[in-house]
């Protein structure tokens, strides 16, 4: 997890006075929204993200098109795994952009699919289906357990009515974008602890 490469921030925030909370929130929400909008499949699935500080909660509102077994009815396993994989990937990308956004090196307003860093690529993804998905809204949170310069390991928990009764969980490995192809502000060795 250590890294020898510590480039100086290109445009450190100068002021000592704290920013108004609304400005901070707007900047973070704009960055998150740019990130999610860059992924068409998220919109196709109807997946949204709630944010509290740097913590993301993914939301998959129920609709009949997600049905896998109409007899029960239950959510399609493919919808569940797509939801969890999306949650893992957005969390990972979010952890990559958090620090530069906070330092003010990235103007969230200019974040477009062209200026965002390349997204991580899934190497493998394993889903445990713990109980059948009900025809209700589903939620998921991902935790980046390990994030190096090339590889990351992410765990995701999905639930519906009760936070403690998971309906699915997943673990995936991801290939991080080639550091050489990233804009300078993203070139940090460790992106695992964005909150510091």
């Amino acid at each position: 997890m250590s890294d020898t490469q510590q480039p100086q921030p290109t445009a450190p925030r100068q002021s000592r006075t704290p920013e108004p909370v609304q400005v901070v929130k707007e900047r973070r929400d704009a960055a998150l929204s740019a990130l999610v909008q860059a992924v068409p499949f998220a919109a196709f699935m109807g997946i949204r993200f709630d944010r509290r500080g740097d913590e993301l909660t993914a939301l998959l509102p129920w609709r009949d098109a997600l049905t896998g077994n109409p007899m029960l009815p239950a959510m399609h396993g493919g919808a569940t795994s797509a939801f969890l994989e999306m949650t893992a990937m957005i969390e990972l990308a979010w952890s990559m952009i958090w620090a530069p956004v906070e330092r003010g090196e990235i103007d969230a307003a200019t974040l477009t699919p062209d200026t965002l860093p390349r997204l991580p690529k899934t190497i493998d993804f394993t889903v445990d289906f713990l109980r059948s998905g009900l025809p209700r809204d589903a939620y998921a949170r991902a935790r980046v357990n390990r994030s190096g310069r090339r590889y990351a390991s992410v765990h995701v928990e999905g639930w519906q009515d009760n936070r403690s009764r998971l309906f699915a969980q997943a673990t995936g490995h991801f290939l991080m974008p080639d550091p050489a192809q990233l804009p300078p502000q993203f070139r940090r060795g460790d992106t695992a602890s964005p909150a510091e």
């Binding site: 499949f41 919109a43 997600l66 959510m75 399609h76 493919g78 919808a79 797509a82």
Partner: protein
């Protein structure tokens, strides 16, 4: 990529074979109709046989994960593989209903934008309660898979009824 006959193959000579083909068609059609999410992704059953299934999905811009590359999101590929694996279990003899217990997908390479993705799954063993499946997905390049997968599925046994998928 498969030696299974396509469901609409007119070569069926004997009346028995024709009847079997029609039945297979009906099962395949019912199966996708019964799976709104598979329908939503445009999936099509290409073949069903004892414990084997081939399902394909067209390229669709709405399924793109990374607009910079226009490559389909892994989640859409896993939905295809999950459906195919489930179909393979459903048409294993004696299986009445099934649900995914666990599915691991390895992504070998990005699917080529614009190309149809085809998944083939084999239920290579089923006990009273558990079915074991492996699967692979390819695009037009059938040499190197886009993804491979291994999964376990729940099994409910039944000899007859509406879910007679065997």
């Amino acid at each position: 990529m498969t030696d299974l006959p396509p469901p609409n193959d007119p070569k069926a000579a004997s009346p028995d074979a024709a009847r079997a083909d029609r039945r297979q068609d009906a099962v395949a059609h019912q199966f996708i109709k019964a799976l709104p999410f598979a329908h939503e992704l445009g999936m099509r059953i290409d073949a069903l046989d004892d414990g084997r299934a081939v399902v394909s999905m067209p390229y669709d811009q709405r399924l793109v994960g990374d607009p910079a590359t226009a490559v389909i999101h892994g989640g859409a590929v896993s939905a295809l593989i999950d459906t195919t694996a489930g179909a393979a279990v459903m048409c294993h003899p004696g299986v009445a209903t099934t649900a995914t217990l666990d599915l691991r997908i390895d992504y070998m390479r990005p699917a080529t934008p614009g190309q149809r993705i085809t998944a083939e799954a084999e239920c290579y063993h089923a006990t009273r309660n558990v079915a074991f499946v492996r699967a692979r997905a390819v695009d037009e390049d059938t040499q190197v898979p886009v993804a491979t997968a291994a999964g376990t599925f729940t099994v409910t046994r039944g000899t007859m009824g509406q879910k007679d998928g065997s």
